[in-house]
Point group: C2
Chain length 146, copies 2
DNA sequence: GCGTTGTAGTTGTATAGTACAACTTGAACT
DNA sequence: AGTTCAAGTTGTACTATACAACTACAACGC
């Protein structure tokens, strides 16, 4: 196996290990907000509101799944739906103040955990690692191995 | 935000994106073997057999979860249990031939997908990226942000 | 030896996240 | 007006998961 092939092998294995751990640790780190909810809220914040269909498309989730997640987030008062005057089928989703607060809080705790984990890394390595990850995720899908 | 802080932020975000995609794409790539099953089989292959408890500990899964996964894998004939003569409470798990074949096949398809995705990368970057990921995952847990 | 405590694994029960299919409502385009 | 398309909801089912209670066996202390 060439160095490149063996590196690909390692990347695959380590990414998979990471993925396996992510959900469980999210549950431990912020039980009040699942990884999915956190991601959806983050997207809403970033975009300043969007439609359920956009969330579904962006995260490759079924619209029924998003519908239920959104319903739950609305029930707990973290988001609200505003009817779209342009198109009465559409509901534009927005963070409430409570949603913004919880999101900020969870973001802080996640950030602290990552920072702690990466505490021993030289800045140069952090920057390079971050760049590799961005590049990997931005890579046009293909078979989308994760 | 310092370069290091912003890199940590990026790492967090990109790792989360990756984690979110992993399960869905595993389902698309190899519906015959869930991400968990694939991981467990891989571990068995690597170790040449181990106990259910080891799997649970290594992957931070509840023993009941592993027990059911193992039962399913046995039902489909991919693994077999051998009683441990040393300790009658223990069952040592081993891949069957069928299990080895399926694992190899899924490994091939995953490898191909990763390779395709990483096709444009210079070898040097692949090697460095792989090293960063290994280091990240090996980092002593702490809050285990994934 | 025998009771106590610990470990391996199973099973009951509950929950979350997810998909697919069928449906409703409204939009858009003949 | 009628057909087709898009947004979202709801019914149903399945998978992964955890926790708790249980069984079976092991190991230790006395």
């Amino acid at each position: 196996m060439s160095p490149a092939e063996s590196a690909v092998e390692t990347i695959q294995r380590e990414m998979t290990i990471f993925a396996r751990r992510a959900r469980a640790s999210a549950g431990r780190m912020h039980p009040e907000l699942s990884l999915v909810s956190y991601t959806l809220l983050g997207h809403l914040e970033e975009r300043g509101g969007c439609r359920a269909t956009d969330l579904a498309a962006h995260y490759a989730l079924d619209k029924s799944t998003v519908s239920r997640q959104v319903a739950a987030l609305e029930r707990t008062g973290l988001i609200e739906r505003r009817p779209d005057p342009e198109d009465h089928r559409v509901q534009v989703l927005h963070l409430t103040e409570a949603g913004q607060e919880i999101l900020a809080q969870v973001t802080r705790s996640r950030r602290a955990a990552f920072r702690e984990r990466l505490a021993g890394w030289p800045e140069e390595d952090l920057v390079r690692f971050a760049a590799y990850l961005e590049r990997y995720n931005a890579e046009p899908g293909g078979a989308e191995p994760a």
